[in-house]
Amino acid sequence: MSDTTISQGWFTSLANPTRFLALSGRILPYLATAAVLSLVVGLYMSFAAPEDYQQGITVRIMFIHVPAAWLAMMCYSVMAVASLGTLVWRHPLADVAAKTALPIGAAFTFLSLLTGSLWGRPMWGTWWVWDARLTSVFVLFLMYLGLMALHKAMDDPARAARPAAVLTLVGFVNIPIIKFSVDWWNTLHQPASVIRMDGPTIHPTMLYPLLVMAIAYTLIFFTLHLMAMRNEIWRRRVQTMRRQAAQSIGGGAST
């Protein structure tokens, strides 16, 4: 047996919702504990970090603004992979994963816009500018809302799955635009200072709290996402059982 066969077997076994519920139920307590612990450590480090020589105390906003922006993009990337799962492999849980990531991604995008604005007012002198970075993240927020509306518009989740997956993949073009907007265009938003070819340009006293907060945000995302996926599986189960019950009352004649 090759490694591919083994990993494929494991991945396929996850397609069984009951097995997924059992496995996620075992993982969740550990994941949630790790998320809380890293958040506590990250918050402590954020407030123990020195003030910036230019930004002063407002540099503390960066420790929650930057991870929120990263997660906003990561969440959409998770949805794009899940959408491939829906369209290519027809993995039954792929649509569940893509759909339940939406409100979480929207929340992180909202937070990155809001905290960015709250930082921009004292540092730039303005709450908002329509530069390429801010605008492309705002478009990302609108795409999250649009996809949520698409799911809400259809009663049957199975019917919403494919159009939502196609739309998600089309919208993925925005992710590299967000990332490289600060290089391609002249923006008020500063260029990348952590994820860059020549390494981070931030002093370690501020880089480490930022990275710990990024880990905490990532763990929070996966904890919430797993919980939301379990809810969605239960929701679909209830829907199926109600339909079955209605059919049995009707003598099972209806199809």
Binding site: N16, P17, T18, R19, G56, I57, T58, R60, I61, I64, H65, A68, P103, I104, A107, F110, L111, L114, T115, L118, W119, R121, P122, I220, L224, M227, A228, R230, N231, W234, R235, R237, V238, T240, M241, R242, Q244, A245
Partner: protein, 56 residues
């Protein structure tokens, strides 16, 4: 103009509120769905796979 501390406080407060709201929403949703499932099972509705004696 607000003090810089106020901008920091507002940012952290908004983040805490949004994430806590998300968590509470997901927890309440989970509780409601499990209650619905329990009610359906109490009414004797079984999933096809269970009714057929399957384990999934």
């Amino acid at each position: 103009m607000m003090s810089h501390e106020a901008f920091v406080f507002l940012s952290y407060a908004a983040t805490a509120l949004t994430l806590a709201g998300l968590l509470v929403g997901i927890l309440l949703d989970g509780r409601a769905r499990r209650r619905e499932l329990a009610e359906l099972e109490a009414q004797g509705v079984r999933r096809r796979s269970k009714a057929a004696g399957g384990s999934s």
